[in-house]
């Protein structure tokens, strides 16, 4: 039995859309950040799959840079979460409505 490339790519899209679903549905900002990490990981796996398929290293180089950007992004994002919790005493995204009032 052989794994076809489309099976691996479909698996990536399952993880990606699970992350997208969580991003829309969840209201805890920490879980929303985790869903963004899930989506980034799905994209990374797509890059690695194509790198393996095409015998080209560019995909793995892209993953290297995406991991760096994801680390910086989560550091800044969690800093924002701490600032938000200090200001609003809440991690609910629906409580961010200062501009509406």
């Amino acid at each position: 039995m052989r794994i076809e490339p489309w099976v691996v790519l479909s698996f990536c899209s399952i993880i990606f859309f699970t992350g997208l679903f969580g991003l829309i549905v969840r209201r805890n900002i920490l879980v929303i950040l985790m869903c963004i990490e899930l989506m980034l990981n799905a994209v990374n796996l797509t890059f690695v799959t194509f790198s393996n398929l095409l015998h080209d290293m560019t995909g793995q180089m892209a993953v290297f840079f995406i991991i760096t950007v994801a680390a910086a992004e989560s550091a800044v994002g969690l800093g924002l979460v701490i600032a938000m919790f200090r200001t609003l005493r809440s991690v609910d995204t629906d409580s961010i409505q200062l501009l509406r009032e």
């Binding site: 039995m1 052989r2 794994i3 490339p5 489309w6 691996v8 479909s10 698996f11 899209s13 399952i14 993880i15 859309f17 699970t18 992350g19 997208l20 679903f21 969580g22 829309i24 549905v25 969840r26 209201r27 805890n28 920490l30 879980v31 985790m34 869903c35 990490e37 899930l38 796996l45 690695v48 194509f50 790198s51 393996n52 398929l53 095409l54 015998h55 080209d56 290293m57 793995q60 180089m61 290297f64 840079f65 991991i67 950007v69 994801a70 680390a71 910086a72 989560s74 550091a75 800044v76 969690l78 800093g79 924002l80 979460v81 701490i82 600032a83 919790f85 809440s90 991690v91 609910d92």
Partner: protein, 179 residues
């Protein structure tokens, strides 16, 4: 693709199951630990696809650094206080999101299944990579020759990230920047 079906389906099943748990669990600590399991399953798949450096980086950076940061922030914000209980979105939003994701997923699968395999010019076949000293050596040589400018810019990005996150997280309400 020449990868072991048993291990692929094992890791893929683990990743899909735990990623559902990340989204569905109400407690953010449970979500964070499910996410760690997803990252380990992904590292296994990277190793199956012969991306050994990426698999190692996945465990070091994601399962190590990023998840420690997440758990640290959850503990710092004190998950037991009542303000940590957030409401859930309405049924309409949930059904709409599920419908949207399902439709997009079906479109993706249809497109991926019917599209022809990409043409490979065989620059980095597994034999050639092994002859050049393995996956890590090939990536390192590319990183310090062809990709030297993005690599140096990465250091600038990380510096900006450090300074930015400290500046944002330190600021007090009311504009006073004491301590």
């Amino acid at each position: 693709m020449d990868i072991s079906p048993l291990f692929f389906y094992l890791f893929a099943g683990l990743a899909v199951g735990f990623s559902f748990l990340v989204v569905l669990k109400k407690n953010p600590v449970a979500s964070a630990f499910s996410l760690v399991m997803v990252f380990f399953a992904f590292a296994g798949i990277y190793a199956l696809l012969e991306a050994h450096l990426v698999a190692a980086l996945q465990i070091l950076v994601y399962a190590g650094a990023i998840m420690v940061l997440f758990v640290f922030v959850i503990m710092l914000l004190n998950a037991d206080v009542p303000s940590f209980d957030v409401g859930r979105s309405t049924l309409k939003i949930r059904l709409g999101a599920a419908f949207l994701c399902l439709i997009l997923f079906c479109i993706f699968v249809c497109v991926l299944k019917d599209s022809p395999l990409p043409i490979s010019d065989k620059t980095f076949t597994p034999e050639k990579i092994a002859a050049q000293g393995g996956n890590t050596q090939v990536i390192s040589e590319l990183l310090f020759s062809e990709y030297i400018l993005p690599f140096e810019l990465t250091s600038l990005l990380l510096l900006t990230g450090i300074v930015g996150s400290v500046a944002i997280a330190k600021r007090k309400l009311g504009g006073s920047n004491a301590n």
